[in-house]
């Protein structure tokens, strides 16, 4: 089927050419396509784009060549002519064209603006899409890689799995191999203080599964070692460049992480991408880890897998599902009933969230291009026809016909060149603007202007310039037009047709603008809702930092608790600090840590299926420090320590899930594990959005810190107005233990803002694009109406002479505008509503057809059309009938 499409595409070539070569072209395309498809779906997609661009470019070239040959020039001739600086017809024409464009700055500027916007917008968008989506992952046969997640009933997030589960999966036929990964931080000993580095802990076959070879060193599979060595580390390229300055002797040297020595055995290549990545920075070091001691229920790892040959993702999912069910039966305490495993293609796992936004972006870009081109077409058409008088005069005075046409085409060409150049400039800044989203999408930093897209957009505009510029140029320079020197009925007939044509063009622009406005309004609504989402906490005046206590020095719970309590005390004593506490994970940006739980007193059947909740650990005072409302009961106190009764605080989502309508205080919960420890619920807090603004809050259970110590905690300080609070914090930590580094020190308010910024940026972009498109369209509307008025001068004059009032005449003009507008509204009704329905499927907070947005857009457009028709109407009313009658 693609072959047929390509065959049709070849019709773009001049007829004699495609008649001769269409078959061969299609065969070659098919053969090459088969070859590219074997290299992967992304290679295939790039091939398709390349081939289409190839056709467009070479066909344009061919047409241009033919046209120029007909005009007595060749490509080479043009080149030589341009090289001649002095006289010569061509350079004169160029200078003349340039002057003509300068004389009419309104026309030129508008045309260039249309071109620039269309070209610019599409260049940016395609550049982004190309960088993010079309580029295949830098692994071997990336289409056979999947990311595996766990899921449990009642919880909508994709969850981690365990190393044991990964092992079981790799034994299955559907999977060739699996590997696990975990992301964390360690302290790397440096010259003065410890430095915090991000470390990926993986199973030893991780890089082998991905098919990655380090550019330096041999990686984890060091030859000659039969006993697996886990004190190895591989550096990322950027880390090696920044910290070790490309020093190749780093291989086989040692670095110290968290107090233990690790031998450097490799450096990854520059284009390596973290398969768990896509969000949140990059991993600086990788080390192998032995996960043998993990139980099957210790689900805290990411799992990637390589599908066996000829196995599809659907097959893999079915197999994984069966395995999950079997495992749940075999280990009912660790995995609950309803436990499932899901396989997602790796590319989608990384970029899936972004894809829907990209689609919208692509669509918007297409619309802007269409609006721009249609505007341009109308403009060129009108321009060509208006100048027919001038052209005919020149012909009568002896100018060669081709000379005139050539000069007009040069004018159009200049517009295209300037428009394209300006568009590329806009695209450049557009890309810069998009990089605001960088903290969410790191790959965006590599986004570059794609040459193919620029070429495509320019080619498109050139084609339009040819299509809409050439015929009027040809027509107006025809000797047969000599009759048009007189404004006879023939001329008026032609003008009427022009007006109708232009009205049609503008009408279609209005339709597009209206649709675009509806889309923008909907997007704005969604974005606005998203940015106003109640996060559940109060970030103003709150600062946080993370501490990771090295396991070698703090190997037991006692040591951890002692250190953290001491630190909390010190921090609380800093002047200006209102409250201090610690929690294991702060809101926003956390990945799921969902664990199964049990509820005392509720038989399994009544609860339905087992569900899981997020585990959290917090010190007393955390909720008030973070500004999370306590809805019922009490917070943790110092009395909730290891020796006391086990307690817990749950969030509202949890309470509503398990005991809807009841008071959960006093009830008991326990985590699903071999040794069941019941905790009594003592309080209920408000829901916090831990996973992102558009993810609904999940049920959570907090345990007090002494009862579930964690060496990695984030400390939260409420100290509004205290500058340098983090410096105090660093000092306090250093006082206790110099080797423990502070990391992720941040201002909670700014951090929260960062999450909203991309949405806000997108909102601004949507608004900007819409406003521009509408502005351009409305200029077009007033242009058409003004043109109509000037063409209908005789008719209007007669009407006025016959006693019609000026108001009547003005109303005629307005009616014309409204007719166009009304038609546009009618035509855009269906597409707008359909689009709204489609978009509401994947934008936050929308539902159904969003009729109010459509109505708003419609009334806006209609009122603007009326506004635009004011001036032409006014001018029509002021026509002096006597003058007009005289001219007839």
């Amino acid at each position: 089927m693609l072959q047929k499409a390509y065959g049709l595409l070849t019709r773009l070539y001049p007829r004699p050419f495609w008649e001769k070569y269409e078959e061969e072209l299609t065969l070659v395309f098919a053969a090459r396509g088969r070859r590219e498809r074997k290299r992967g779906s992304f290679a295939f997609a790039s091939f398709l784009v390349w081939t289409v661009a190839d056709v467009l470019l070479s066909s344009t070239r061919m047409h241009l060549r033919n046209a120029l040959t007909a005009l007595g020039l060749g490509f080479r001739g043009v080149g030589r002519a341009l090289g001649r600086a002095l006289n010569g017809d061509l350079s004169q024409d160029i200078r003349f064209s340039f002057r003509r464009l300068k004389i009419r700055p309104g026309f030129s500027a508008t045309a260039i603006l249309y071109l620039a916007l269309g070209i610019g917008a599409n260049t940016v968008i395609f550049g982004v899409v190309d960088t993010l989506v079309l580029r295949p992952l830098p692994f071997e046969e990336p289409e056979r890689l999947v990311r595996l997640y766990g899921s449990t009933p009642g919880n909508s997030s994709l969850q981690h799995l365990s190393a044991r589960i990964a092992e079981e999966l790799s034994e299955m036929e559907a999977f060739e191999e699996t590997a696990v990964l975990d992301f964390g931080f360690m302290a790397m000993a440096g010259k003065e203080n410890a430095e915090v580095v991000s470390v990926g802990s993986v199973s030893p076959n991780f890089f082998g599964l991905l098919g990655i070879q380090p550019v330096l060193g041999s990686g984890f599979d060091s030859p000659g070692f039969s006993i697996p060595d886990y004190n190895l580390v591989v550096l990322s390229y950027d880390f090696w460049r920044a910290r070790f300055e490309h020093d190749a002797t780093i291989i086989s040297s040692t670095i110290v992480l968290d107090g233990s020595s690790y031998r450097v055995v490799g450096v990854l290549s520059e284009d390596f991408e973290d398969p768990a990545g896509g969000v949140g920075g990059y991993t600086q070091l990788w080390r192998p880890r032995d996960f043998a001691n993990d139980g099957i229920g210790d689900r805290w790892l990411g799992v990637i897998g390589r599908l066996a040959p000829e196995v599809s993702v659907e097959n893999a999912n079915a197999a994984a599902d069966a395995a999950a069910q079997a495992m749940a039966l075999m280990y009912p305490d660790a995995l609950m009933e309803g436990f499932r495993i899901i396989a997602v293609p790796l590319h989608e796992a990384i970029w899936g969230d972004v894809r829907s936004s990209l689609l919208v972006l692509l669509f918007a870009g297409g619309i802007v291009l269409i609006v721009g081109c249609v505007n341009l077409a109308g403009l060129l058409l009108a321009n060509g026809l208006e100048r027919s008088q001038e052209m005919v005069t020149r012909t009568a005075l002896g100018a060669g016909r081709w000379r005139i046409v050539r000069q007009l085409m040069i004018e159009n060409a200049m517009l295209v060149v300037f428009g394209g150049a300006f568009g590329v400039l806009l695209a450049n800044s557009g890309l810069g603007f998009l990089q605001l989203l960088q903290n969410q999408i790191p790959r965006l930093a590599d986004a570059q202007l794609s040459f193919i897209v620029v070429a495509f957009a320019v080619a498109l505009s050139a084609i339009i310039a040819l299509i809409f510029g050439l015929p009027p140029a040809m027509a107006s320079s025809s000797p047969a037009m000599a009759g048009a020197l007189r404004s006879g009925p023939g001329a008026r007939g032609k003008s009427r047709r022009t007006v109708r044509l232009r009205s049609l063009l503008v009408g279609s622009q209005l339709t597009v603008s209206l649709t675009l406005m509806v889309i923008a309004l909907i997007s704005m609504k969604s974005f606005r809702l998203l940015s106003e989402v109640d996060t559940g906490y109060e970030p103003r005046g709150v600062f946080t930092f993370q501490l990771s206590l090295p396991r070698s020095t703090y190997s037991n719970n006692e040591a951890i608790t002692v250190f953290q309590d001491a630190l909390l005390e010190r921090l609380a004593s800093v002047p200006g600090v209102e409250a201090v506490a610690a929690v294991d994970k702060i809101p926003l940006g956390t990945r799921s840590n969902c664990s199964g739980f049990r509820v005392l007193g509720l038989p399994a059947l009544e609860l339905g299926e087992w569900t899981c909740a997020e585990r959290r650990v917090a010190t007393p005072g955390y909720f008030s420090t973070m500004g999370i409302d306590l809805l019922r009961g009490r917070d943790f106190t110092a009395g909730d320590n290891q020796r006391a009764e086990r307690v817990a605080v749950v969030n509202r989502a949890f309470a509503n899930l398990v005991w809807p309508g009841e008071n959960p205080i006093g009830k008991q919960v326990a985590w699903h594990s071999e040794r069941v420890e019941w905790s009594t619920i003592v309080g209920v807090v408000a829901d916090v959005r831990h996973f992102g603004l558009d993810t609904p809050p999940q049920p959570e259970v907090y345990s007090p810190h002494p009862q579930a110590p964690d060496g990695r905690m984030t400390f939260v300080i409420r100290a509004p107005g205290v500058t340098q609070i983090l410096r105090h914090a660093r000092a306090a930590v250093a006082e206790l233990d110099r080797s423990v580094p502070l990391r992720l020190a941040q201002d909670m308010e700014r951090f929260t803002e960062q999450w909203i910024t991309p949405y806000r940026a997108a909102l601004i972009a949507a608004a900007a694009i819409t406003l521009l498109a509408i502005a351009l369209t409305l200029i077009g509307v007033s242009g058409v109406l003004a043109h109509a008025v000037s063409q209908r001068r005789p008719e209007i004059g007669i009407r006025l002479a016959m006693g019609a009032g000026p108001r009547e005449v003005g109303w005629m003009v307005v009616k014309h505008g409204l007719k166009i507008g009304g038609l546009a509204v009618a035509v855009s009704l269906l597409p707008s509503l359909a689009l709204a329905k489609i978009m509401s499927a994947f934008l936050y907070g929308l539902s159904g057809f969003e009729v109010p947005s459509f109505l708003i857009a419609t009334s806006a457009i209609v009122s603007l059309v009326i506004l635009m028709s004011y001036l032409p109407a006014h001018r029509a009313a002021r026509i002096n009938p006597a003058e007009v009658l005289r001219d007839l």
């Binding site: 065969l27 070659v28 081939t51 056709v55 066909s59």
Partner: protein
């Protein structure tokens, strides 16, 4: 088509040059030319089908290559496919272009610090 002298057509574009080289030894069909060009240049020079046939068409018009129906008994897909063979004129043009390039290289070789 009669050329006044070869300076009218030189320098050849990279694509034309590579395509001519591809068919210099034996006749090839379009797909084969495409692959040969990429192979010869280690993937540096890529021609799409459209550009390829555009060039072939032009070169055929100017007499650098001849179109041959299924040369040497090779039939791809069982259908008569067009094969392209370099013509004597094409050989002259190719030789002239190689001379030109070599001359440039010789000059570059004389520069200190540049290895040719």
């Amino acid at each position: 088509m009669v050329l006044k002298d070869l300076s009218d057509v030189l320098p050849l574009s990279t694509k034309s040059f590579h395509i001519l080289m591809a068919v210099a030894e034996r006749p090839l069909n379009g797909y084969q030319i495409m692959l040969k060009v990429e192979e010869n240049s280690d993937g540096v020079v890529r021609v799409g089908p459209g550009t390829l046939y555009e060039s072939l068409h032009r070169m055929a018009e100017r007499g650098f290559v001849n179109e041959v129906e299924s040369a040497g008994g090779e039939r791809a897909d069982g259908r008569g496919q067009r094969f392209y063979r370099i013509s004597p004129l094409g050989k002259k043009v190719l030789a002239a272009e190689v001379d030109r390039l070599s001359a440039d290289l010789r000059i570059a070789g004389k520069l200190r610090g540049i290895r040719v």
